[in-house]
């Protein structure tokens, strides 16, 4: 059995009013991949920040041991020097600099006079990349010109150049295509063979099954159960540990007979503003029916977000085509027009496109339907009515919050998403489009969202859901459109939809 490299014992970390970590215990060995699993808000990221010196000793309690020796980092530099490398969800590269400059940022090879030896810097970078078996990135490539997946490889190369013995990967695949995930896993396997100890934070069960050696589960800031080898535990058991209960039915799909066509999209195209003459969405036509959940599947960058954005009037200058709602042709020149026509769009990027982070739950809930809580003439807001409406949605959706005046940025991802759902429900849409509605939120909240979709469908709302998670699409949708390179390439009925077939169309190999 290999050596224990990292041991965290009795870690407790308090924030004002919350105990984020409450007695965390685990150990990781060299040459293994330890999966750290847990719902959002379980404390995974805080734990990694303690490990990496972002929260220095003594802002936490408990002990960290590296190869049996107790360490107490005062800052991230010390942790780095001790061989801890962390790849965060949001990459920390400088887009305008080359791969080599990023890897050797502030550590470039210099001569005696302090001038940078670029040849050596590039050569060392090449050596690192070659060692990792990465042959499609050049040291001179600008980071902004390579894909997110490759940027991640650069981060890994950088961590290794810092002689990292413990590599922490925080949801590394959340923005990767399937091929990139495969490449990443190949590198992870190689690093395992080289004896690197890896802590891998992820929600995705499939990935964990593929590459993890052992699993530690965090819930409410505590490690639940022992660190368990992957072979000795079932997916259901993992989920049970994560949520503290068995989830009998992950996808509570209710069958319902779809009604007449509500939304009809004909020949919708969205041009690419960065590349004149090319299209993000090309001649897409589809219909959606009353009382059905229409899924849109495809790889990242297939044009799904742009398709629904085009319908919603998000890029009026780039969009052509026809949108009909209940047989009526719509002139949508802005999201405002779309909302007024009865279309709602829950965006994929919550932080950048959905939330007003430093504003209250109340503010976020009513912002897209202020007309309903204010006077016609001067637009004077009826605070009483606003409170009542917001309170209703908070209760209905089970948003966990001390008050409706709480700043939304302080809530967990799942609760933020529920507030945004409330905001769009409050606009009383006929067609509700949801772009990756369950991304980055915990399993409990996911199931609640699925149940809500069922309710909406029963009320006669047309639901369109984009999702990159195939089990979700297969589990919840009545019909599935598959997009590939800006075009709708296939349309599956629920009963005919098979994972392999969808993937084949999505990757363009069908």
């Amino acid at each position: 059995m290999s050596e224990v490299v990292l041991k965290m014992q009795g870690i407790i970390k308090d924030f004002p009013g919350v105990r984020a970590l409450n007695n965390v215990n685990f150990e990781a060995r060299s040459g293994e991949l330890l999966a750290l699993m847990g719902e959002n808000g379980a404390g995974k990221s805080t734990l990694m920040k303690v490990l990496s010196g972002v929260w220095p000793y003594p802002t936490y309690e408990g002990d960290i041991y590296l190869r049996g020796e107790r360490v107490r980092f005062a800052n991230t530099k010390e942790a780095e020097a001790a061989g801890i490398g962390i790849i965060y969800q949001e990459l920390n590269l400088i887009p305008g600099l080359s791969v080599a400059e990023n890897i050797f940022l502030d550590r470039q090879f210099t001569d005696a006079k302090g001038r940078i030896n670029w040849n050596q810097t590039f050569a060392e970078t090449q050596k690192l990349l070659t060692e990792l078996g990465i042959n499609d990135i050049r040291p001179t490539d600008l980071v902004q010109n390579i894909t997110v997946g490759k940027q991640q490889m650069v981060e890994i190369a950088k961590a290794l150049s810092l002689k990292a013995e413990i590599l922490v990967l925080d949801e590394p695949t959340s923005a990767l295509t399937d091929k990139e995930v495969k490449d990443l896993f190949r590198i992870i396997r190689k690093l395992k063979a080289d004896g690197v100890c890896m802590c891998y934070i992820s929600h995705k069960m499939e990935e964990i099954e593929q590459i993890a050696d052992r699993i530690a589960v965090l819930r409410d800031g505590q490690t639940i159960g022992e660190v368990t080898p992957i072979a000795d535990i079932t997916l259901d058991q993992i989920i049970a540990r994560m949520v503290g209960r068995d989830i009998k039915d992950m996808f509570p799909k209710v069958d319902f007979t779809p009604g007449e066509v509500t939304l009809e999209v004909n020949d919708l195209s969205v041009t690419n503003p960065d590349m004149p003459g090319s299209y993000l969405v090309k001649n897409a036509s589809f219909v959606a029916r009353k009382g059905e959940i229409l899924g849109i599947s495809g790889l990242m960058g297939a044009g799904r977000t742009e398709l629904v954005g085009g319908v919603f009037g998000a890029y009026p200058d780039q969009t052509t085509g026809e949108v009909k709602l209940n047989g009526q042709k719509l002139e949508i020149k802005s999201p405002k027009d779309a909302i007024e026509a009865g279309i709602a769009l829950l965006t994929e990027d919550r932080k950048a496109l959905g939330l007003f982070l430093d504003k209250s739950i109340s503010f976020n809930t009513t912002i897209s339907s202020l007309e309903t809580i204010s006077s016609k003439v001067l637009g004077i807001i009826n605070t009483q009515q606003e409170r009542k409406v917001v309170k209703e949605y908070v209760d209905q959706l089970g948003v966990k919050t001390p008050s409706i005046d709480t700043v939304i940025g302080t809530l967990s991802g799942g609760n933020q998403q529920k507030v945004i759902l409330g905001k769009w429900l409050n606009s009383k849409p006929d067609v509700f489009i949801l772009d990756e509605p369950t991304r980055g939120i915990d399993i409990g909240a996911k199931v609640e969202i699925y149940k809500l979709l069922n309710e909406l469908v029963q009320q006669g709302v047309t639901v369109i859901m984009i999702s990159s998670e195939l089990p979700e699409v297969l589990g919840m949708c009545d019909r599935i459109l598959v997009m590939c390179e800006g075009e709708i390439v296939s349309n599956f009925e629920r009963d005919d939809a098979k994972k392999e077939a969808i993937m084949a169309y999505a990757t363009g190999s069908a």
Binding site: A314, P335, A352, F363, S368, D405
Partner: protein, 387 residues
């Protein structure tokens, strides 16, 4: 055991200290203003007299009116550098019209429309429709409007011959009337606070007692001071009354209307605002129009007070207006801020100017001190955000 109680003791003390520090942080500008007023009262007998304070309030109105508009502009993460030149142009246009025989009652609204709405809509059009940075558009307008004022007057001053026009900036509401107005306003203010508290309680929302007490104390103190000053010296100056109405309208708009909400949304996250169905172009155009109209109004009041207009009126006013907003705690990044803060900021700058002049501080030094205070205020704001 004793060690435990020690720890607990430290905790309580620490909490108390935090409470005090937070209180000071939350109300820093207000505390600075009060300290400054008390200090100046001791330093110079002429400061805390009804006459001086009445004049001071009149001086503050010009920047104050512009700063109310500037709060909205900065709230949507914009900036308007042209306000000073708009002041000059509107003063010149209004007085010139009267020189050509247009009666005051027509010249004033015409100026607000032509100069205020005209320039504001122009600025807003380029900024909102074509996404050109407001800094550039309004910087251009700063020069254009000043150039227009100089061209129209050929560089010389325009005298005022009307009997009515000087009243806008110079008249007073008689003391008797003033006291009635002040008492009614105070009663309304107290009533509205009570109603708010009751409504919050009814909805189970916790009332922030500290904030309530501070607001109450400031309001009562403010009304008492205003009552003392205005009843013992001539009454409420008309421009102060105009400013009060505009400030109230500004506070009310931002707190309680759809439009106000949209400004916070727009400044907080423009993309999310657009995708939430907010008409970004229209909202921006309105904001830039509002500030231009307010600047034009300030120009008219100024010309009235001075009984004439020079094309150089309002030079550098943009800086004082921006300073008042920033000192008042509105974030230059947009999305957060309040008109009440801006009013305190404008008062602080006004008191500072007045006090330094009374104490005989050389104008050159005044500039330096003002600049340092602006830097201090922003530094304070940034430090606070960091925690």
């Amino acid at each position: 055991m004793s060690a435990d109680s020690n720890v607990a003791g430290v905790g309580v003390n620490g909490a108390k200290e935090n409470h005090l520090i937070n209180f000071i942080k939350d109300n820093a500008t207000l505390i600075a203003l009060i300290v400054l007023v008390i200090g100046l009262s001791f330093a110079d007998d002429a400061f805390f007299t009804a006459r001086n304070l009445s004049n001071l309030s009149r001086q503050v109105t010009i920047i104050g009116i512009i700063a109310v508009g500037m709060t909205m502009v900065i709230l949507i993460a914009g900036i308007d550098l042209s306000v000073g030149s708009v002041v000059g142009l509107s003063a010149v246009v209004c007085t010139l019209m009267m020189q050509y025989g247009v009666p005051t009652v027509l010249a004033v609204p015409a100026t607000l429309l032509v100069v205020g709405v005209g320039i504001g809509a122009w600025n807003g059009f380029w900024i909102a429709k074509f996404n050109i940075p407001p800094f550039i558009i309004t910087l251009g307008m700063l020069t254009i409007a000043r150039g227009l004022a100089l061209t129209l007057t050929n560089g010389s001053s325009v005298p005022v011959t009307s009997d009515v026009f000087p009243l806008i900036g110079g008249a007073y509401i008689p003391p008797m009337m003033s006291s009635i107005v002040l008492i009614v306003c105070a009663a309304l203010a107290v009533y509205s606070i009570f109603r708010d508290v009751q409504q919050s309680r009814a909805h189970g929302v916790e009332v922030n007692m500290q904030e309530l007490l501070v607001n109450g104390a400031v309001m009562i103190g403010g009304f008492a001071l205003a009552f003392h000053v205005f009843t013992s010296y001539k009454g409420i100056p008309v421009p102060v009354a105009i400013f009060a109405v505009i400030a109230f309208a500004g506070i009310y708009t931002l707190n309680s209307t759809r439009f106000g909400r949209r400004l916070y949304a727009l400044g907080g996250n423009e993309d999310a605002a657009r995708l939430s169905g907010i008409n970004v172009v229209r909202t921006k155009m309105i904001v830039y129009t509002v500030i231009s109209v307010l600047s034009a109004l300030a120009g008219i009041i100024l010309a009235s007070r001075l009984n004439g207009a020079s094309p150089n009126l309002g030079t550098m006013f943009e800086l004082d207006a921006i300073a008042a907003v920033v000192i008042g705690g509105t974030s230059l990044a947009g999305g957060s801020g309040r008109v009440s803060g801006t009013i305190i900021g404008a008062l602080l700058i006004g008191v500072l100017n007045n006090g330094m002049s009374l104490l005989g501080v050389v104008t050159f030094y005044q500039l330096i001190i003002k600049g340092l205070i602006i830097i201090l205020a922003v530094w304070f704001d940034v430090m606070q955000k960091k925690k």
